[in-house]
């Protein structure tokens, strides 16, 4: 067993940390306060090749591993978590193209997404389907020269300005995967949603109304794409967990900084036992979550990842993030709720992760069904 990062992983982590702190901090208010996506950040992310971390270099990626992806998302979430969500979604779309598209399609879309000249979004969730993929209602009907898609997708990140969308739909009763160019006739998005945390990611509904797409936009052949969905969600869970580790580290850093500077009872509150306990709990839980996440990344890199492992990771890490960020708020006392401090944003963002990619309740079900009996 070896718990050390490799030299390239460590170097990459340091670079992303430096980049995030220097380049992403100015965008915090635009995303969190104004609920707007700062498009000027995209070329910066592309210049660091953050859109293509585990993607093959021949498609413009960095050819790195999933551990590097996790480390990068952790560092970015430490500064601005909604941007990490944006990166995660681009990776998930790239990964679908990489695994299921034709060579021409790969060459058309993956480099463009890596260079930030194109943006993708991912459409699975529907108004009546959040947790049970088999109940999706979006349909694809085959005609002589095209497929015709109809349905509504909900909670779609980046949808209002994406160029391409991966869409799960039922074709002859079985789940298939398509990609849809968003300038297609019949493709529309709703007003973006206002929400608790991870603000600025531009979340909306997508309505597909008689959208006609070429036949070669069917990805990986007809039907049987429940596995493709599970694969995408497995990567998603790793990405979310890595971001939660970043949020927790940021919360701990903020809590320590505050406790060292806040004078009460004639000394910094860092000297008070009640504060020791909170900080010690935060640090302990963070370390457990961090290593569970790194293990998940390691399993992914080895091709040993399972639904159970990823569900366990997502369940534990996202719940722990909510607790750790809440403790960080508690250390700040009343100042915790003030916009003057970072901690309230971390607290709001943390809760979001429990609700995305399957709630904790769903993760428990996934785990229990796979326990030995």
């Amino acid at each position: 067993m070896d718990f050390n990062l490799t030299e390239p992983q460590e170097m990459f982590q340091k670079e992303v940390k430096k980049f995030a702190e220097a380049e992403l901090t100015p965008f915090v208010d635009i995303m969190d306060k104004d609920n707007e996506f700062p498009h000027e950040v995209r070329p910066k992310l592309a210049a660091m090749n953050l859109y293509g971390i585990p993607i093959d270099q021949k498609y413009g990626g960095a050819g790195a591993d999933h551990t590097s992806l996790a480390l990068a998302l952790e560092e970015i979430a430490k500064v601005l978590a909604p941007l990490a969500i944006h990166l995660q979604l681009q990776h998930v779309v790239n990964d679908r193209f990489n695994k299921l598209a034709t060579e021409d399609q790969k060459m058309k879309w993956i480099p463009a997404i890596c260079e930030a000249t194109k943006v993708g979004c991912f459409g699975f969730t529907e108004p009546e389907t959040g947790s049970n993929p088999k109940m999706i209602k979006t349909t694809a009907v085959e005609e002589a020269d095209c497929f015709v898609l109809n349905g509504t997708k909900r909670f779609i990140t980046n949808a209002p300005w994406a160029d391409v969308m991966c869409v799960f739909a039922k074709l002859e009763g079985d789940i298939s995967l398509f990609f849809v160019e968003t300038d297609s006739k019949g493709f529309s998005t709703s007003k973006k949603m206002d929400k608790l945390g991870l603000r600025g990611t531009d979340l909306s509904d997508v309505v597909l109304e008689d959208v006609r797409i070429p036949k070669d936009h069917l990805m990986g052949g007809r039907g049987g794409k429940f596995d493709a969905l599970k694969d995408a969600m497995t990567i998603g869970k790793l990405c979310l967990s890595a971001q939660c580790v970043g949020l927790m580290q940021a919360s701990l850093d903020e809590a320590i900084k505050y406790a060292m500077n806040r004078m009460h009872f004639d000394e910094p509150i860092y000297e008070l036992q009640a504060i020791h306990w909170l900080l010690a709990e935060m640090a302990s839980r963070l370390e457990a979550a961090r290593w569970l996440t790194y293990r998940a990344a390691f399993l992914k890199d080895q091709g040993l990842d399972t639904i159970k492992d990823m569900a366990i990771t997502k369940l534990f890490v996202t719940q722990t993030a909510v607790d750790v960020c809440r403790f960080g708020m508690q250390v700040h006392g009343a100042y915790g709720i003030s916009k003057e401090y970072k901690i309230e944003r971390l607290f709001r963002d943390a809760k979001m992760y429990e609700l995305l990619e399957g709630t904790s309740e769903i993760q428990r079900e996934l785990v229990v069904k796979r326990l030995p009996r």
């Binding site: 969730t125 959040g130 947790s131 049970n132 109940m135 909900r154 909670f155 949603m193 206002d194 929400k195 608790l196 945390g197 991870l198 004078m263 009460h264 009872f265 004639d266 008070l272 036992q273 009640a274 504060i275 909510v322 809440r326 708020m329 508690q330 006392g333 009343a334 915790g336 709720i337 003030s338 916009k339 309230e344 944003r345 607290f347 709001r348 809760k351 979001m352 429990e354 609700l355 995305l356 709630t359 904790s360 309740e361 428990r364």
Partner: protein, 395 residues
Amino acid sequence: MDFKLTDEQTKLRKEFFDVCEGLEKKKPKGFAGLEGIYDTDEGWEYHLDCAREFGKRGWLSLGWPEEYGGQGTIMDKVFLSEATGYHDVPGVDIFGVNMLAPTLLAAGTDEMRKEYLPSIASGERMWCELWSEPNAGSDLAALTTSAVRKGDEYVINGQKIWSTGAHRGDWAFALVRTDPHADRKQKGITFLLMDMKIPGVTVKPLLYMDRCHLYNEVFLDDVRVPVRNVVGEENQGWGVTQTLANFERSSLGAIMAMHRQIEEVVEYCNETKVNGVPLAKNPLIRNRLAQMASELWASHALAYKIADAQSKNEMAAFDASAVKVFSGELQARMAQFGCDLLGPYGQVKHSKWAQFDGFFEKWYQQSFILNVAMGTNEIQRNIIAWYGLGLPRMK
């Protein structure tokens, strides 16, 4: 021991609930909790209307001596708090009715009571609190706002923070330092009353994390307050605050608000099907709801016990701390549960997709403050350990 209400109490409690149910129907859209009262002009007007209605009925002076216009008992006040909490109806000024009036009755002069109590009882004058400072929160006695006596006035300079509703309140009760050389920091503090509209008072908003305007910073620059506005004696204000701190923490209103939420969540779970099955049949949801209902009834019983003790002047200092910790943390867990129950919809606000009008998204943010306001829960646990369990006093 008898947990049963008398027939008279049952009748009066029902009257409180009936009136509050009527007032609830006039509630502005989106109104909720303290935020609803102080954030918008519409909410504030609704608060004043409700206050005047309660004032007309004599319900803002429950438990006061008759000579000051009082009627009923402290327990009656508890029942009213249940009704307002359940229907989320404002009108009872937490500062004037719940905090200042009992303080004036305990520590004010007869002249002060006659001057200030009538407008509290009628709901005509609203109050706020000027206590916390940037460097004096849980360690409140570290406050530094100075009041220097000049003739029959004090000249006050300093900064207050976290002053709930100071942008709405007509008058404030403040803590100021009148003797900076006292041998203990608790000595040398004076409790006084001041008009918020006098020269030198500047109120600036301190937005909550959900950007609502509930809290304020208040700057006091050469503010002149008459010496006769002191409650108790000069330099003895800390003793006055110790009486007052126990008046605001029986938490019955918040507990009844949670009962209402449980009822609404149960209704939602009965009506909402996921994958063709009502949420009410989901074992995970049933388990969490049952757990919360159990804890809610435990905190309800504790709050009744405290109200009963208070009505008999037998309340221990740590009783209020216990119910504050228990019910405040329960409320935070309940808000979390609400978001979890709604899944991705639990994050949405201001939208047709926001279930319960976005209540749980809002409550998730609002409930945090319960565990840091009025002495953080760490401080409350210290009080319980020290006063309640007899453990050595520690910081």
